[in-house]
Amino acid sequence: MDKHIATPITAEVTKELHAGDYVYISGTIYVARDAAHKRFMEVLDKAEEQFVPEQQNEAGRNKLADVLPFPLENAAVYYMGPSPAREGRPIGSAGPTTASRMDKYAPRLLDLGQKAMIGKGKRTQAVIDAIVRNQAVYFAAVGGAGALLSKCIKKSDLVCYGDLGAEAVLKLEVEDFPVVVVIDCEGNNLYETAVKKYAQET
């Protein structure tokens, strides 16, 4: 089923999304991949030593989330590292990267309020459990369609970690950015169900 959603992606939104839905996202999404996630963890580790763990922020979350470089509550994070933008364009080629490399970090961020992940490829059970626990969602964008996807990105701003080059954290404004719900908030996994549906005996 085709659906149009706007950010921020709240639990009210995710509970209406089902594995296999074709979704167009409009609004703000944040870009972060391997090296940025590693830094997020270092920032969180450091903060954890300073905070009393049960301190909460305005969203009722653990206050730790506030030390990250962008508002994590109900945020969508796109696992991506773009090619450089040509003059006059917001971004270069901008397709998803393999999400499993972020599996180590994702549950902690979902527990702190992140609601959606956009990437491609399989996730671990620990991530699926965190999706269900937090009523979150995992979307896949079409891998290798970076030119097409760049057309849906209207604006791109550097948030931080510019020294990481293609791995810097970006804030994107997107319009009808096409994704497919792969793992929904009930833990249904399209990668498993769809493959079974089309598998044939040889």
């Binding site: 296999g20 074709y22 090296a35 991506m80 590292g81 773009p82 090619s83 450089p84 933008a85 040509r86 270069g92 080629s93 901008a94 397709g95 990267t97 393999t98 499993s100 491609k120 490829g121 399989k122 896949a140 079409v142 891998g143 290798g144 369609a145 970076g146 030119a147 097409l148 760049s150 057309k151 080059g165 293609a166 096409p178 497919v180 792969v182 399209l190 990668y191 169900t193 769809a194 493959v195 079974k196 549906k197 089309y198 598998a199 044939q200 005996e201 040889t202």
Partner: protein, 281 residues
């Protein structure tokens, strides 16, 4: 007769090839993707294959790389024995071409200087270069930028001779099944059989640069290519791994003599953006 080639000529060609490879697919890949969009059975799979067509058009018209992972540059340099190079060291000339191509083509710089320390070299060098000496007075350059979504899903198996062709089939199927959605299907599967540990990996990489419309000249290898493509497309993985009947566009297999005690098999997976450009200087 010795023929002199200026290395700046090599640099210029590699620069242009980097930009060309990342914006246009070869005709055989283009045809294979079109055919797949027609024959795919799953509605979502078909939709994705159509988007890949659209992606290729946008890439070429607007000069946006087909995929943001513009790869690590792999270069095969087949050098005629009668060639003499004039200018900088050939390796430097090839890397300079990569440096210029990735800068001028707005291509992503994805190479880190050290696998553990991981500092980006910021110009996508060095390339991975394979030299070979051949007959004649020309240089054949093949540039194949390789993305790592699919490279990470590639495997080497040191099988026993007793495992035979069935063992080879199992190795290929296992690799593709494990790769699943991570390798951006529909994939091209490059397979090397024989040689030594490193030779079979090289055979697999070379197999990826072969046309996806042509089969091996060796009858049993051709049969194996056809059988494996059929079996892979029965796995159900489909475009984007979201289910369907197009999991691979082609299986290309290269073979080489091996040792009495061994049966090395390498499976090098490439995504649907199987880029390679060939030029003869």
């Amino acid at each position: 007769m010795i023929r002199t080639i200026k290395t700046e000529e090599v640099t210029k060609n590699i620069r242009e090839m980097c930009i060309e490879a990342n914006h246009y697919l070869s005709r055989d890949m283009d045809n294979a993707l079109k055919k797949a969009a027609d024959s795919e059975q799953a509605p979502l799979g078909k939709k994705i294959l159509c988007q890949l067509q659209e992606n290729l058009i946008i890439a070429g018209e607007d000069m946006i790389p087909i995929c943001q992972d513009t790869g690590m540059a792999v270069i095969f340099a087949e050098i005629g024995q009668e060639v003499h190079f004039d200018g900088m060291l050939l390796e430097e000339a090839l890397n300079e071409g990569v440096r210029q191509g990735y800068r001028e083509g707005f291509l992503r710089k994805s190479v880190v200087k050290d696998p553990i320390l991981r500092e980006n070299t910021k110009d996508n060098t060095p390339a991975v270069i394979h030299y070979s000496m051949v007959e004649g007075d020309k240089v054949k350059l093949t540039l194949a930028p390789k993305g790592f979504g699919s490279e990470n899903m590639s495997r080497i198996f040191m099988l026993k001779p007793a495992d035979g062709i069935e063992g080879v089939k199992q190795a290929i199927l296992t690799t593709v099944e494990d790769a699943g959605p991570n390798a951006c299907p529909p994939m091209v599967v490059g397979v090397g059989i024989g040689g030594t540990f490193e030779k079979c990996a090289l055979l697999a990489k070379q197999a990826l640069t072969r046309s996806v419309e042509e089969h091996s000249q060796i009858p049993y290898v051709k049969d194996l290519e056809e059988e494996m493509l059929r079996k892979i497309n029965c796995l159900g993985i489909g475009p984007g791994g979201l289910g369907g009947t197009t999991t691979a566009l082609a299986v290309n297999i290269n073979t080489y003599p091996t040792h009495i005690a061994g049966l090395p098999v390498a499976v090098n997976i490439c995504c649907h953006v199987n880029r390679h450009v060939v030029r003869v200087i």
